[in-house]
């Protein structure tokens, strides 16, 4: 019962920017830590350069929540571990992107309405 309540609360809560960027980066393919930092920099148009402290704090929480998992590749060492999205992580990213799309549409519609006045 408690678990269900926690799940719905976390689903309803908007994702933080680091989490959204990590999930978006992993949506295309599995990546290791440094590749994530580089891809996030590209994704954000150079605006976000995530520190290792922020990145691994978010990765730890995402692993605990089961939104991502470690991905075994042949040359993976303890120093270079890859991560990939789980089905739950993909679902949460989809929900968040839908929410943002809805908000963006509503925002543009209101701007347009205000300009028309």
């Amino acid at each position: 019962m408690r678990h269900v309540a926690t799940q719905s609360a976390s689903e309803a809560k908007p994702l933080t920017e680091p989490v959204l960027l990590i999930l978006t980066s992993l949506a295309a393919q599995p990546r290791h830590g440094y590749a994530l930092i580089k891809d996030i920099e590209v994704l954000s148009g150079g605006r976000v350069r995530m520190s290792t402290g922020t990145l691994f704090g978010a990765l730890r929480r995402l692993l605990e929540d089961g939104w991502i998992e470690r991905y075994e590749v042949e040359d993976t060492t303890r120093q270079k571990q890859a991560y990939r999205l789980t089905a739950a992580g993909r679902r949460h990213l989809q929900v968040e992107l839908d929410r943002m799309k809805h908000l963006t549409r509503a925002g543009f519609a209101r701007l347009k309405a205000a300009e028309a006045l």
Binding site: G33, S51, T54, F56, R60, R61, Q79
Partner: protein, 145 residues
Amino acid sequence: MKRAYRFCLLLYPREHRDQFAEEMTHVFEEAFAEGRAQGRAWYVRFGFAEITGLIGGAAGAWLDRRCAAPVPAQSPAQGCMPQELVEAQQHVDASIAAMVHAIANHQFERARLLSNQEREARENLRMLQEKYGREKYGDEHGINC
């Protein structure tokens, strides 16, 4: 800077260090090696971002760890717990709170000492839980009398 980075990693809980310290150091070194040619301004910005990121990350990891294993402070069943077990748990909680406070105030040497103190307190709690029976007193679902 690498030495400062490794030192700051000591601020994290042991579980986090066991799981990620090697990987974090490797990623840090990769980023450092790639960017160091960009000059002094980059070096200062990078160093500042990394160190503050580690401090924030360590504080977050301690808070998450504390939230993950809550012990009800005023549980109606607490009267059934042996006093020394209650005190041991309070000691662990107090050590964590002091450590988070030290990290937030950039008192890293103190935080490191408190980390050792917290480890000892947790070990003491674990032994007491074994003494009184884990299922009865240490279960995350609450305390059964």
